[in-house]
């Protein structure tokens, strides 16, 4: 009989873990949860991120025309005039004194005026208790308005009460409340919008081009650098590696600035090409192809340095005797690389590929600095679109909700890709202990 002992639980251990767990929750989980949360709202600059008021504006009327609100309601909202009723008279009594109100009740109780001018004219009918200044009359006319349009209500109750008094059909109240609310609401419209926009497809294709080409460049060039420096003398190799590492340690803004100098129509390429009779042009933004080449090279040189370091150390980890063995077995340099070194770089190559895929999917800073998605959206990748939508919208209305929906798609793709990598490449086996004793 075997007894499986329970894993011991220790509060002290949990205590020690707590700081790490807090960090994980705060910096890893929270952004994902927040993204998912924002993606299902219609938050934008106009809604703000706190609650809102109730206000029916002219633009609301236009969108109401497309809803099931009845024509009578729309008419009532649009053409609601000024009604002399008890509520209005009470307000007048408060503003101008009960005597004025009483006199006005006798003159016009129950009357309806369609325009403000008529209402003001009616107020001039007062004889014993005149309202002398035009300004006061205008204010007094306003007291009898029966429309809920262009009035700000702090709470839903207040807005509904106003609707009741304005005599609009009760059936349409809910629609109007929804329309009048100026704060953010929960919605799945963002996702639907993304699915229906043709630009989404274009951004996705751009991203695929960007990630696959940059990744191929990163890994291929990193490998080339690692292997070629491996066969150089240590000092020369170290110098080369340092030079190739510069793009990574350079601040991105400076690094991209250098690319400007290189590619602008007054830059190095144009100047040099000018000696051969080529008309100067902007080699970064002149055509879509130019933009792509530059974007991939900019990101590629940065990424290749990381691959180079990883691959270099992996090559150094191959026992020297194994390389010697292949040499005495008759393998030339190329065969040594092909049959001995590359197969043993399988794990770092896979690691670099998967890691870089994930980071390239979400990175856009070099594109932002270089082409900003141009020319004409040619290099607008998904992450950059998210940024533009949520944080740097040309129109000025920053659509946090829609931007978050963009980002959420990336999060989902990232998670799915990671899971696929884990399964497909059998990471557990790859990271297990070395299989041969040295």
């Amino acid at each position: 009989m075997s007894r499986i002992s329970k894993p011991r639980f220790n509060w002290l251990g949990l205590g020690f873990l707590a700081p790490a767990m807090i960090v994980v929750v705060l910096f890893f989980l929270a952004p994902v949860i927040m993204t998912a949360f924002f993606a299902f709202t219609n938050m934008s600059t106009s809604t703000g991120i706190t609650g809102g008021d109730y206000l029916l504006s002219q633009s609301d009327l236009r969108s109401l025309a497309n809803t099931k609100a009845s024509a009578a309601t729309l008419d009532a909202l649009e053409n609601a005039g000024y009604r002399v009723d008890d509520a209005g008279l009470a307000r007048l009594a408060e503003a101008q004194g009960p005597a004025t109100a009483d006199e006005f009740r006798k003159l016009h109780e129950g009357d309806l005026f369609t325009s403000r001018r008529d209402m003001e004219r009616a107020l001039k009918d007062l004889r014993q208790h005149r309202i002398r200044s035009t300004r006061d009359r205008k204010l007094a006319a306003e007291l009898f308005t029966s429309s809920v349009m262009d009035q700000r209500f702090d709470t839903e109750e207040a807005f509904r009460a106003a609707l009741m008094t304005s005599g609009i059909e009760a059936a349409d109240h809910d629609t109007l409340v929804d329309e009048a609310y100026t704060g953010w609401i929960w919605t799945t419209k963002n996702i639907e919008l993304l699915a229906s926009l043709s630009s989404s497809w274009r951004y996705a294709m751009n991203t695929a081009i960007y990630v696959s080409f940059t990744l191929a460049f990163n890994v291929g060039f990193g490998l080339f650098l690692a292997i070629s420096t491996f066969y150089l003398s240590p000092r020369v190799a170290a110098t080369f590696r340092t030079i190739w590492f510069l793009p990574r340690v350079l601040p991105p803004v400076l690094y991209v600035l250098m690319w400007y100098w290189l590619t602008w129509d007054t830059g190095i390429i144009s100047t040099l090409a000018g000696y051969f009779g080529v008309a100067p042009r902007n080699w970064m933004l002149d055509t879509g192809t130019n933009a792509w080449v530059v974007v991939i090279l900019i990101n590629g040189f940065v990424g290749a340095s990381l691959g180079m370091i990883l691959f270099s150390s992996a090559i150094k980890a191959i026992p020297a005797s194994m390389l010697h063995a292949s040499e005495v077995d008759g393998a030339n340099r190329w065969q040594q690389v092909r049959y001995i070194i590359l197969p043993q770089l399988r794990w770092p190559i896979l690691f670099t590929s998967s890691y870089q895929t994930l980071s390239l999917l979400t990175s856009f800073e070099y594109i932002l600095l270089a082409t900003d998605g141009g020319p004409g959206g040619t290099t607008e990748v998904w992450a950059l679109a998210a940024y533009h939508t949520a944080l740097n919208n040309y129109g000025g209305n920053l659509q946090y909700g829609l931007g978050a929906a963009y980002a959420l798609v990336l999060v989902v793709i990232g998670i799915v890709t990671s899971l696929l990598y884990l399964r497909f490449f059998n990471f557990r086996e790859l990271v297990s202990k070395p299989r041969i004793e040295q």
Binding site: P319, H324, A325, S326, E327, V328, R435
Partner: protein, 349 residues
Amino acid sequence: MQLKLKNFTKTFDSTTVIDGMDLTVNDGEMMALLGPSGCGKSTTLFTICGIHRMNGGTLHFGDREVSNLPSQQRNVGVVFQNYALYPHMDIRDNIAFPLRVQKLDSTTIARKVKEIAELVHIPELLDRRPAQLSGGQQQRVALARALVRKPDVLLLDEPLANLDAKLRLEMRSEIRRIQLETGITAILVTHDQVEAMSMCDRIALMKDGKIVQLSEPSEMYNNPSNVFVAGFLGNPPISFVKAQVQGDDFGFGNNRVAVAPGLKFRVGGALQLGIRPEHFGPQFGRDVQGKISFVENQGREDLYNVTLENGVVIRSIQPAGTRLKLGETVSWGVSSENVLTFDLQGARL
């Protein structure tokens, strides 16, 4: 194929590791490069296979000079201490690798791999990976890979160092068997005198980058050219005693050992006696007195250290069952015809 190293010099930076070494290994011979760590034996081996370049001298395989050829063109097979199998290939591919880089056709490769696998007794392991093999099996694979393209010379760098004691014994005879069956010229680098003596036709004993003595194992054991050679071979090691020639005897303290008949030494001359443990014991007389200072029972035989009056220790090996106690006083003798005599500088007399 004969291997000839002439006036071979190797320096690392400013340190001269090997200075003007000559070595000839005859066709089909197995030669041991024996010596303590740092004596230059591995350097010699790596130079022969071309991993290190020579700084001076020449190397010939038969009539072909290979001094300046890269490893790829030397046609040597090397078994490394850690076997250096390629972990990402199965055994078949490991063995086939030297043929594959020569771009032989696959049927030839398959045939040759099969032949060599049968020679080293691993035909059933061909589909496995190196990690799934025991040390001894990996050793056999390494041998097969080194031999598969019929090299001119087989070089073995401490091939048994990574094996446990039992496997070491087995592989010792296996490597020798394979070498004899293929008739290949081989060099074995080792620091283990037992390996060198049991496996090789001749031994080159090295010290500080020089060959101190080069002879057959029994000759080297029985007839060492100096105290270093005498002390390096033999386990338990030989004991050295300072003595003086007194008439027909070597005297040390109150003890004496008869000078073997036919040998003449200057009376009164000081020298060193080398006494191997098997040549000191009760069966050789009673002229040496001392106390047992150490006892080690090794099952088949007993080992004793006998400390003489003047503090000198002589080791003795006796058949098991003598049952002497620590501290016991004994009067034993030395086999006079087997005593080795050296001058005070250590050279053989």
